[in-house]
Symmetry: C2
Subunit: 336 residues, 2 copies
Amino acid sequence: MPVGTSGSVKGLTATQLEEVGAQIILANTYHMHVRPGEDLVRELGGLHAFTGFRRPFLTDSGGYQVMSLSALRQRTEESVVFRSHLDGARLELSPERSIEIQMKLGADIIMAFDECPPFPASRDEVEDATLRTARWAARSKRAHTREDQWLFGIVQGGVHDDLRKQSAGAITSIGFPGYAIGGLSVGEPKEDMVRILEVMDRALPEDRPRYLMGVGTPEDLLDGIARGVDMFDCVLPTRNARNGQVFTWAGKLSLRNARFARDASPLDPDCVCPTCRISSRAYLRHLHLANEMTGAVLATLHNLFFYLDLVGKARESIVAGRFETFRQETLEGFRA
Amino acid sequence: MPVGTSGSVKGLTATQLEEVGAQIILANTYHMHVRPGEDLVRELGGLHAFTGFRRPFLTDSGGYQVMSLSALRQRTEESVVFRSHLDGARLELSPERSIEIQMKLGADIIMAFDECPPFPASRDEVEDATLRTARWAARSKRAHTREDQWLFGIVQGGVHDDLRKQSAGAITSIGFPGYAIGGLSVGEPKEDMVRILEVMDRALPEDRPRYLMGVGTPEDLLDGIARGVDMFDCVLPTRNARNGQVFTWAGKLSLRNARFARDASPLDPDCVCPTCRISSRAYLRHLHLANEMTGAVLATLHNLFFYLDLVGKARESIVAGRFETFRQETLEGFRA
């Protein structure tokens, strides 16, 4: 899922998002709540009508942004009180309030309000947040009344196998149409993430979509898919594009690199995205160095196409029963 | 002609430029010379191949940007020596050098190297620049050897009718396939511009395209067309779009205006541009206030479509023999 934080994937139109094959995008509840506000979005017909992107939306619960972006947080069992990163206004989010906002925003998939412990954190802190996440998940489910939306539960538990199993048990007991794995890719070692994904693979029901939140690199996606993950969101393809970092089947490349100055070839010779069909590395490097907005747009189109192409090909290889071969070949390509 | 200063119309892809109906775009010789350099552009196949925009290009001569952007200029009869606005490097432009650069860039229409006097300037200064512009036009023509490019001459003369007539005589005597009117819209009163356009209308041959450089507002375009002008370039539609200023058939509007906060209508109910087909004023206002790049892109698409629609409809009305009616009705619409 490309990330459209404030109601747009930075630099792209809804038409371009469809062109690169985005089937669903994510919008951030915290950002949309702070500006322009969920009441305005609802009045204008919800996220689809407001943004012009007619395919599915997912909204997160806002909990992660409250912890990472806002100042002066105060968390109780009831709610989190915090100050807006924009104007310092006093705001409050609780399971009920997050669900109310998400119902007004009108995404197709919405998320339970959870508490994501920081990394590192003591085991007690993680356990406390994990138990609260389960209680808040139950409150989220009770608050959710729109039948045209799916509400997903979120599993926490940090890097502790037993807490993860306990959390998965608690969240699946409440029962949701899909489950998210939260609290990974927050700074923990890669081997911890992979081990927890294996714990989750065994603990979560096979017949419900699994969503690994905020992940990640192309390698991370393949690691997740290998352990049963179905959905991802990450700002990496879009943010890196704006910084001149491009993903290809032969690995990452930086547009700042002088060896591309006169390179007439496309970013990726194997890519058929709108950018690679028209633009050379030399042109994209020039636009990036000249700080031209079009450079960010073209690189974003490419990176999103690449990510969506990667998961599309992974899906095909699963259907064909050859995912592990696909994964190994792809990882070898990245290293080349 | 939309302006693609450094080889891109800010925020748009070549595909989007074609979608809004751009038949030709302008690139700035000064900017392309300073970065990435004309040799690189030539090596990559010229402006069309480099940028991916396959329709015609026009390049200006660089003279205007040398005077407006660079530091520490020194102008002799031979050339202008100046320092790059990017890194202070010593650079030199002359008629021969400007034409050489423009031949390497490979635009379809290129411009003679002229001297545009500032406004206000003494009559002596304007006369001096006007006479030099004629000598430089002759040198530009001698230096130009690419038969697949048109070289246009530029008329100067400030706001002085007699100098304008004298300049038109000198430049048309040298002989070019098209003529530009330079040195207007540089701060002079509107009535001076209109009067000079009337002088130019009588002084320039009817069977060659006339290009009013750096102009202007929608009203200015209609004023120019009424006096026989065929071509314009201006950053107004693109720059204003990035600043949240939008042009419509009912006049200008500012996206900052609070009355658009919940306005579900498109920017212009009479517009069929890619933006108006999908996006509301409320959404565009939100993106503008949130400083989202997509807002600049969508407003740029609209403003360029509006400008190209305006001149397209003006052209149709000329063919139908009802331009003056079209102009009056359009101006009334703007005032409404």
